[in-house]
């Protein structure tokens, strides 16, 4: 590992190393670098995309119909990597809508459409006078607010690179401009050398770099001369003339050329304490800091064999390709291609309304002879020319196979992401395979796959959380229902009125049944029953009470309860109601009532069934006793039993607070006893009758 000192020492020796691969396409720069930089005509409409840099777009500050002045910020940078855009001229904001973007896809992006008023009035310049102060934060903020992005092509926000967190040893100014046809940097250097060097000094100050290397390709002798002259007395700026080879202007390739160091895979130049800026960016920084002008225009080369007057133009950002080309004139051949960028890395312009943005350095209208359109793709013949041309030392053939078969893992294994998409491989390919297209597609696919995977993971989490939530809700619902049921049960146990209602209803039902069952026998047996009541022992009162009385009492009780409830509204304490209920009810009922208190509906039902059975039995017995006297012996034994049962009934009356089951049993027993007593009575009556008869 080399120390930084040796890096600087090595660099200071002035040696130019090299990088592998590379090609020498026809330069054709002479077309456009013969004239000074002209000014593009003021257009009627400017299409300013909100996002012209890599990162996030800013917030739009203007509304429809707003009057804007040249240099007025139209957006405010949002958080993260973000830059503002400024009005390129004075006029009115006509529309804010998606418009064809300056991208290979042409996919519409949010664009501010400004109708120029022709005056080109600008806001007052805001120079940053004290840029040499040791504290650079305000200066960096100023550079950001002026919307400076890297003008080399990637449009990376400059304020990040101008103020890196890392210590910087070396600043490299990239004025190589290796792509054929393009001369924007060349002419800028020729006519604005002093200003560029001022910008470089500002960059040296903000980055804290000890040395600046100004790299120019040797096919620009005029530019080299003026730049050398401009930095004659600057001992920390060295001009390096590099041999013409494509793509020596690539960031990693240029670093390798000047320092012999390779930027490791997945690392940035900053990891080598190196920062690289484009020469145009240096000029824009000078304009922003010393002249106080935001980035609203840049040099654009309009060139190509089909352009009548190929030249470089100061072009306001947002000018459409159509306006620019119209100014330079075009003699279109059949199927004329228009390219944004150079012939190697540019893309076809799909719509002439595409605007010039911060990254646009060239509009190219080449002839078919000089930049032939892509031919028919042939099979790879494994010649290996692509591998020899690759400046990143990749294996283009392998990458092609894996791209075609979409083996993403293999592609990453073969370092697809180190491909700088320079197009050297496709340029040398004898089979005219558009290799870079395959790589770009594969890169997009891999990124898409990664995003899809992240999305799938998110969807899975959302799905699982939803399932968990539904389960939680289900459980909560279940619990709520259970609690409600529990509350109802408790309320039933506590609330006498409800119980009384049930009791009343039961009693009513019982009475009805009894009435129905007694109706036939009432006619003849009423007398007998009354005598039986008189004759019977302890059990008699219990039994003798007319069911109708019971019903009446229960109904009365229920009514009283209702009234009370209405009076006391929410108050349903047992202590208050119980004595009230007791006072109303006859002492005979008390036991029964208390017993009913503890009964569940099922028990009550059973009891009712038992009672009904008992009644039915009694009826039968009566009938049979009336008709049949033979069973006398059996019945006498039953009478004995009934006496013991009667005692039980007494017990049930006294021991009211027994378990429901016991009570139930007792009740059943009581019912049976009652029935038996009845039978016995009937029999007794019959016996006496027969005895009387016998006598």
């Amino acid at each position: 590992m080399q120390s930084d000192l040796t890096l600087l020492e090595q660099v200071k020796s002035g040696k130019i190393w090299g990088f592998p691969g590379g090609i020498h396409p026809p330069e054709r720069k002479h077309l456009s670098n013969q004239t000074p930089i002209a000014q593009a005509n003021l257009a009627t409409h400017y299409y300013v995309p909100v996002k012209q840099h890599s990162g996030k777009e800013g917030e739009v500050l203007v509304k429809l119909g707003d009057k804007v002045l040249k240099g007025q910020p139209l957006t405010k940078p949002s958080t993260g990597l973000s830059l503002p855009v400024h009005a390129p001229t004075s006029g009115e904001v006509k529309e804010i809508k998606p418009h064809i973007s300056a991208h290979a896809s042409g996919a519409p992006e949010l664009t501010l459409i400004i109708e120029a008023d022709g005056k080109d009035d600008s806001v007052p310049a805001q120079p940053f006078n004290d840029w040499q102060a040791p504290e650079t934060d305000a200066l960096i903020e100023h550079i950001k607010s002026m919307g400076i992005a890297g003008l080399g092509g990637a449009a990376f926000p400059t304020y990040i690179k101008a103020h890196p967190a890392h210590d910087i040893e070396l600043l490299i100014i990239n004025a190589v401009e290796c792509e054929p046809y393009i001369t924007a940097d060349d002419v800028l250097m020729r006519y604005h050398a002093e200003e560029i060097i001022e910008g470089v000094e500002i960059l040296l100050h903000t980055t804290g770099a000890k040395l600046c290397l100004f790299a120019i390709e040797d096919n620009k002798p005029e530019a080299i001369e003026v730049i050398k002259k401009a930095c004659e007395h600057k001992n920390n700026i060295d001009v390096r003339v590099v041999p013409t080879k494509y793509p020596s202007g690539g960031e990693k390739q240029l670093i390798q050329l000047l320092t012999s160091q390779q930027v490791p895979s997945k690392k940035l130049p900053i990891d080598l304490s190196i920062v690289m800026q484009n020469v145009g960016t240096a000029f824009a920084i000078k304009k922003a800091v010393i002249d106080g002008l935001p980035l609203t225009e840049r040099v654009v080369t309009v060139t190509g064999e089909s352009i009548t007057n190929p030249q470089n133009l100061w072009t306001k950002l947002g000018t459409t390709v159509e306006d620019l080309v119209a100014q330079c004139g075009i003699t279109a051949e059949k199927d004329q291609r228009l390219i944004m960028g150079g012939p190697m890395m540019g893309f076809n312009i799909l719509d002439s309304q595409m605007p010039v943005v911060k990254a646009t350095n060239c509009i190219l209208a080449p002839s078919k002879y000089h930049v032939p359109p892509r031919g028919v793709e042939q099979a790879c013949i494994r010649c290996g020319d692509c591998a020899a041309a690759c400046p990143a030392e990749l294996l283009p053939q392998q990458l092609l196979w894996y791209s075609k078969s979409q083996e993403h893992e293999k592609l990453e294994e073969y370092d697809l992401f180190d491909c700088i998409e320079c197009g050297a491989c496709a340029y040398v390919c004898p089979s005219q395979i558009p290799l870079v297209q395959y790589y770009r597609n594969s890169k997009a696919e891999i990124r898409q796959a990664e995003e899809d995977k992240a999305k799938a993971e998110k969807a899975r989490i959302r799905f699982e959380q939803r399932q968990a939530r539904l389960e939680r809700e289900k459980q909560a619902r279940l619990k709520r229902h259970q609690e409600a049921a529990e509350r109802r049960r408790q309320a039933l146990n506590q609330d006498d009125s409800a119980k009384d209602k049930i009791a009343a209803a039961l009693a009513r039902a019982k009475a009805k049944k009894q009435q129905q069952s007694e109706a036939p026998k009432e006619t003849g047996k009423l007398e007998d029953t009354s005598t039986a009541v008189d004759n019977s022992t302890d059990a008699a009162p219990n039994q003798a009470i007319d069911p109708k009385d019971k019903v009446a009492a229960a109904i009365a009780r229920a009514k009283a309860k209702k009234e009370q409830k209405a009076k006391q509204a929410l108050e349903n304490s047992k202590s208050e109601q119980a004595p009230y209920a007791e006072s109303k009810s006859s002492p005979t009922h008390e036991a029964q009532e208390q017993a009913t208190d503890e009964k569940t509906p099922e028990q009550i039902k059973k009891e009712r069934v038992a009672a009904a059975i008992a009644k039915a039995k009694a009826k039968k017995a009566k009938e049979s006793s009336n008709e049949n006297e033979q069973a006398a012996a059996d019945k006498s034994t039953m009478t004995e039993e009934s006496i013991t049962d009667k005692q039980d009934v007494d017990a049930s009356e006294s021991q009211a607070l027994k378990t429901p089951e016991q009570i139930k049993k007792e009740k059943v027993a009581a019912a049976i006893a009652k029935a038996k007593a009845k039978k016995q009575q009937a029999k007794h009556n019959a016996d006496t009758l027969t005895e009387q008869g016998n006598e």
């Binding site: 896809s105 996919a107 080309v325």
Partner: protein, 185 residues
């Protein structure tokens, strides 16, 4: 005789020791869930669309782990089948047409004028990607929509369309042309 006895004893002791160690390990180092199911689940597209016949991706992953076919996932398409084949060590098959065809990624779109606010689609969405309330207009969170199609059927007014997912420049493939090309003269 004593040799046999001692050797048997030694074997018995060893068997007991190993049995105890294995028994302990099986409790102590018990794997909570089947890792294969999780691996399969990670390969599935998580649309939770149920086109495979299982109520979600996880159940299908379990089914695959238990020997079900790997070609029942239309949203995943050939790529998922290939990945599953690699994982399971079987030959990739073509997608089972009975479960649907591979299609471009879609997202649900609610025609908001027609939405009556019945919340039925909200209940159907497996990933909670639909926002709305009773009798209020609903809308789809496009970023969260998996394009599973499950909200389309429950809609009583048929106001949900499945539209191709919006693409962005970030992942633009260079052979796709998004806008019609215009020739300049």
């Amino acid at each position: 005789m004593s040799i046999i006895f001692y050797s048997l004893l030694a074997l018995a002791v060893l068997a007991l020791i190993f049995g105890a160690v294995l028994g302990f390990a099986s409790i102590k180092y018990k794997v909570e869930s089947d890792p294969l199911v999780d691996q399969i689940d990670a390969l599935l597209p998580q649309t939770q669309c149920g086109q495979c016949g299982y109520p979600g991706c996880k159940p299908y992953a379990e089914a695959i782990a238990n020997g079900d076919e790997i070609n029942k996932c239309p949203p995943g398409g050939e790529a998922t089948i290939k990945n599953l084949a690699d994982l399971m060590g079987v030959e990739p098959k073509s997608l089972d047409e009975a479960h649907g065809e591979e299609d471009v990624k879609k997202v649900a779109y609610i025609r908001e004028d027609e939405c009556i606010g019945c919340t039925k689609c909200i209940q159907a969405c497996p990933v909670d990607a639909i926002l709305g309330a009773s009798k209020l207009m609903h809308t789809v969170i496009v970023d969260e929509c998996t394009g599973c199609d499950l909200c389309v059927d429950p809609c009583p007014v048929d106001c949900i369309d499945m539209v191709p997912a919006p693409s962005n420049n970030k992942y633009w493939k260079w052979d796709q042309v998004l806008i019609p090309t215009k020739t300049i003269n």
